[in-house]
Symmetry: C2
Subunit: 207 residues, 2 copies
Amino acid sequence: MEFLPAQAETLNDILRWRRDVRHFRTDPVAEPVIDRLRGAMDMAPSVGNSRPWRVLRVMDPGKRAAVQAIFERCNHEAAAGYDDATKAEYVRLKLAGLRDAPVHLAVFTDTIPAEGRRLGRRTMPETLQFSTVMAIHTLWLAARSENIGLGWVSILEPAAVQAIFDVPRSWVFTGYLCLGHAEFADDRPLLHRTGWQYDTPTHWQDC
Amino acid sequence: MEFLPAQAETLNDILRWRRDVRHFRTDPVAEPVIDRLRGAMDMAPSVGNSRPWRVLRVMDPGKRAAVQAIFERCNHEAAAGYDDATKAEYVRLKLAGLRDAPVHLAVFTDTIPAEGRRLGRRTMPETLQFSTVMAIHTLWLAARSENIGLGWVSILEPAAVQAIFDVPRSWVFTGYLCLGHAEFADDRPLLHRTGWQYDTPTHWQDC
C-alpha cells in the first residue's frame, strides 16, 4: 500500500481542522456515524495489541449533571489559582461543551487487560493509558473527517468521576469526551484565537 | 470546512495501514519528509495548548547503541517473566527495529512548560504526557501517509534512557521511536499475524 501526495494532503487538512470543540449544536449524531467512530477507534495502536480502552456512553441525565457539577467545581478551583488579571482572562474562556453536546463518552483504561499478555508494558505500565489516549485521538480525527466535533474535558477530578460510574476496580479514568455537530469550524485552537496561548513551533534537537 | 466521504475514507485507509513497524530498510528518510513530519506533530492537540513534546533526533552511534543495550536487557527480563511455552513464543517475536531504522527519535514531555499557563491540567497532570502521546500518534499517521514506517519501542527502562540524554530535570521520557522505509506493508498488526494477540472489537456500554 503506497499513499499518494493527495492522500497525505487530506490527512494534513484533517489534522489542521481538528479542534477541541466546546460549542456544540444539540441535534443528535446519527447512529451509523457513531458505529464508524467506534470502528475507527479499534484501529488505534496499543501496547502489545492490548486494546485497553473501555467506553461508556453516558445517556443518563443524572450522571451527565454529576459530571457537569464536578467540572464546575474544578474549573472554579482552577480559576482561584491565578492572579487577578489572569483569573479575569480565564473565566471568560469557555472550557467545556457539556451542556449542549448530544453525545458524552466516559473513557477508561483497563490496567490489567487479558489482551496483549503483558507484552511491552513491564517497564512502562503507563503505555496502557497511552494506548487509550491514541484511541481517543483516533476517534477525534475520524469524527472530524465525518464533520463531527469532539471536546476533551480534562478539568475533572478523576476520583470523583470514577465514583459516578460503576466500573471495575482495574479501570482508571482517562478522559471525558463531548461529541456533536460544531457550531463553527476553525483551523486554529480557540486558546490561540483568544490569546491565552499562541501556537508555537517545536524545535527538534540533534544529539 | 466540510469533509467529503472520500476524504473520511482516506483517513480510514491510513488508520488501517498504519502499523508498528519493526522491519526497516536502512536507506535514509529524505529531509523534506522529516520537516513535514515535524510540522504535522505541531498540529497535535495538547492540554491548554501547552505543546509539551520535546524531541531529540538521535544521531550518535554510541547513544543509539546504549538504547539498544537497554532494550536487549529489558526484553530479556520480560521474556524471563513468562512460563516456558509462552517464553518460547515471546522470544520468536521481533519487537524492535533499532538496528536498521535510519531515524531514531527520543521523545520527552516537559512537565512544567510555560506554554498553556497551567490550563486544564491541575486535576490531571498526566494530560501533559497524554499530549505528547497524541503528538507521537500524529507523527505516526503523517509518516504512514508519506509511506514511512514508525515503530514505538516501549521495552525500555525510562530512568536508564533518561540517563543517556542530557535533558532538563523537568523532562520525562515518553517514548523512543524508530522511523524509516518499511520492508513490507500490512493492514494487520504483527502481533495479530503471529497469533500473540488477535484484534478484538471494543464494545461500548450505555449508562
